[in-house]
Structures are given as C-alpha cells and as structure tokens.
Amino acid sequence: MSFISAQDLSLGYDKTVVAENLNFEVREGDYLCIVGENGSGKSTLMKTMLGLQTPMGGQILFGDGLKKNEIGYLPQQTLAQRDFPASVEEIVLSGCQSHMGLRPFYTEKERKLARTNMERMDICDLKKRCYRELSGGQQQRVLLARALCATTKILLLDEPVSGLDPKVTNEMYELINSLNKSGVTIIMVSHDIMAAVKYASHILHVGKTIFFGTKDEYIASDMGKLFVNMGGERA
C-alpha cells in the first residue's frame, strides 16, 4: 500500500483539461519530483493532492495510515504574505492548527513542537523577527518549519527554490534532502530538472507525454535524455 496513489487522474479547471491519464504512487520515504513545462498542470496536480481542488476524472487514494490532513505544504508565496505583520514564531505555531480541531489556544505541547521544528530548520534566532523582513531563503525555512508542525509524514513543496540565489538554492535542496533522509516523504514540484535528477528517487513528468518511474528509469528514457540534456546545457 502506498501513501498516495493516483489512478487515471485528469486535472483541470473550468472544463479545460490540463493533464490526463496520470497514474503514479508515492510510498513512504519516497522523494518524488514533479517536473514539466509551464502550464502542464504541475500546480493543479499539487492543489488536487492537497484537496484544494477536485479532480476532473479518476481519483487520488490515500493509504498506509495517511490521513488527508496529514500533508504538510510549502506553498509559493502569496501576495498577502508580503506585507503580513507576523513574527516567525507565530507563523510556525500556526502549523499546529491542523491537529487543534476546535481548541482555541496553543498549549505547551504545541509550543514545544514549534520550538523543535525551528531548531531543526536552524531559525531559532529569528523567532521574534518579522517574517516579511527576512530573506527569501529564511522565509522558506520558516514555512518549512510550519509545514513540519502540521505533519512529519509527507511534505508537498511547490517550487521551493524559486527566487532564491544559487547558494541558498543548494542549501535548500540539502535541507529538503536531509528531511527525506530522516524519514519525511517528499513531493516536490520543480522546474529544475538537474536538481530533480540529483536528489529525487522518483520522477513524474507531466505534459504531452507522461512519465512516471524511478530516477534511473527516467534518465534512461528518451524523454529523460532529452530533458536532462536540455537542463544540463542551460546550467
């Protein structure tokens, strides 16, 4: 049984199909990279897995003890967040909401969880700082810590390195990799094929043709060869 499996999934909005016949599965401990061109439905797929959008056909199954609300999420930055007055601590704590139910206030347990995850992301010294004044890389760490407060089973990352400089990008990839090594299942949407091939265990390529398989299978495939070479030339 796998954490998440998609069967004949088709995605889209307003009756426009953007991706069809998606079949893949994510097992515990996997590191899946979803790659593909712009507009190929990567973000839509992400939203569908998170339950923010309903699939147009087929289905997504959750299994292996994974509940629907046990998915942590690292979103792309929204406009509202850019001028939101919030301290790092407040944001990380808000990740605990997922298991609060109707309980109104945080207890010591949630505060401890938030502290642990801030330590894990190495942002304890930023605790009282204002989120909007942090650098891009620091902001991503804050949001990662928040996602880890929500769950430690599986994280969905939507373009986690967009807008970061090369050095911070590498740090971010290493951080995500170390999370994966410590047992967190990772699903990442990315433009960066080179990084995908370097870190991921599985690749899902969405677009006109669809590929799903392990990294090695992808590199050996025609499509993989094409894209990896293109990515390599660009880099």
Partner: protein, 280 residues
C-alpha cells in the same frame, strides 16, 4: 472646557454614549487587520451601504428597533459577498459595487419618497455620517450594542489563532485540515455585526474608517500579529473616546470627529514607522 465636559458627563445619555462608543471601537478594530490583509476592506465598505439601504427601509416601515432588521440582512449580504468573492467567474469587486451602490440609491429613494419626516436630508445626513445619533441611543439600543460588541470581542479572542492561520495562508490552512470556509463564514458574520454596530457610532459612510485606520496605524509600527492586534484595539478605543470628548466639548459631529482623530493617529504612526524603518 473641563467644566463643560464634567457637566455633560452628568447626563446618563452621554455616559451611555461613551460606553457604547468604546465597545464599538474595540470590536470594530479587531478584524481590521484581517480585512486589510485578506483584501476584504471593500467588503466592509459595501456592507455599510447595504446597512444604509436596510436602515432606510426600516425607518419607512416605522420599526422602533431597526437593528432587528438591519442585522440579519447585512449578515446575509456579507455571506453572499464572501461567496462571490471566491468565485472566479463573477468578479467579487463588481458584485460589491453593484450591491453597495444599488442599496445606497434605493435607500435614499425610499427615504425621500416614503418618509414621513419633515427633514429628509437631515435624516439622510445623520444616517450617513452619524452626526449626533450616538447621543440619542435608547437603553435597549445600548444593551444590544454592548451585548453584540462583547460577543464579537469574545469570539475574536477564541478564534484568534484560527483567524491568524486562515488570514496568513488560507491554502495551507485548508490543506492541513483547518475548516477555512467555516472560519471565513464566521469572519463575514462578525464583519456584518461590527458594521451594523458601528453605524450607530459613526454613520454608514465612515464605518470603513473605524475598521481600517486602527489596523493600518498598528501595522505601520508593529511587526507581529499579536502586537498589531493589541495596538489596533487600544488606539481605536483611545481615538473613539477622545473623538467623543472633543465632539462634546467643541460641539462637532461625533462620527467625523472620531474618524478625524483616527486619521491623525494614522499619519502619526506612519511617520513613526518610516523613521523606525529608516534606522533599522
């Protein structure tokens, strides 16, 4: 000046007005931050026009207690506006413009055509700008205002952490199992209640100012949600109180005086914030 103030305070209706004013100012400031950040400020504006229209209908119907009609209708509109705001096909702001301007026009029309009062423009003016209406509140109205303000404040305290989560990142909250729709719904109802309450204090055209300015002032100085919320509440109460006192002493209209003080504080905090930002 002090004498005049002390003299006024002898009257129960003035004391009542001050109590209600403070409570309304407190409750209206709390959701300001959420409204500004969720780009909901226009909903507040639209709803206040709706409330004006309903009030016109209520006064034509000769209802003695207008809140009974205004509150439910405004709440309904709030829910509708929120729903349409989420709908990508009908533009939320267009729907709001439609409803708010429509309600305003019909409200004025109804008041003009059916009004039994001899001073229609005076009535309209006081509904729009509040004028001295806060001083003529009956005991029942004071009780209603007090009860609803306290409910709003209590709800805000209990939902504080949820409101933070839903305001900061609705998608994340939703994805991790927070019932974002329910909280949005509750926020909309709270906004509607606040607007109906504030109408008594500053009139329907100036409500947004009461909601938005304290939040904006707080946001230009403070950098975390808790301090922003607390400062917004404090500054709103202080502004309302000093606005009311000024209006008693100087004989100016209550609503616009309060808003003028709010604006003054905003300008002040804006420059303080700039100064701080420049140094850092």
């Amino acid at each position: 000046m002090i004498e005049k103030l002390l003299y006024s305070l002898q009257f129960p209706l003035v004391r009542r007005a001050l109590i209600v004013g403070v409570l309304i100012a407190l409750s209206s400031s709390l959701l300001g931050v959420t409204l500004v950040l969720k780009r909901f400020s226009y909903i507040g504006d639209g709803l206040s026009h709706v409330a004006f229209g309903v009030m016109a209908v209520a006064s034509v119907l000769g209802l003695t207690n207008q809140t009974v009609l205004i509150l439910p209708v405004t709440v309904l509109c709030a829910v509708f506006l929120l729903k349409s705001g989420n709908n990508t096909k009908i533009k939320g702001d267009a729907a709001i413009a439609m409803i708010s301007v429509g309600a305003l026009a019909f409200g004025y029309l109804i008041m003009n055509v059916f009004s039994t009062s001899s001073n229609v423009s005076g009535d309209v003016c006081s509904t729009l700008f509040g004028s001295t209406s806060i001083l003529t509140l009956s005991v029942t109205e004071v009780v209603i205002c007090a009860v609803f303000s306290i409910i709003v404040v209590a709800m805000f305290i209990f939902l504080y952490n949820k409101i933070f989560a839903v305001t900061f990142d609705e998608d994340f909250a939703r994805a991790t199992g927070v019932k974002a729709d329910m909280y949005n719904f509750i926020i909309a109802i709270m906004i509607a209640v606040i607007i109906v309450l504030s109408m008594n204090l500053v009139g329907s055209l100036l409500i947004s100012a009461l909601v938005i300015f304290p939040a904006l002032s707080a946001m230009s100085i403070f950098k975390n949600f808790k301090s922003v919320t607390i400062f917004a509440a404090v500054s709103s109460v202080v502004c309302a109180l000093s606005g009311m006192i000024i209006s008693i002493v100087a004989g100016t209209p209550v609503g616009s005086t309060i808003v003028a003080v709010d604006v003054f504080v905003f300008v002040l905090t804006f420059f303080i914030g700039k100064g701080k930002g420049g140094k850092a």
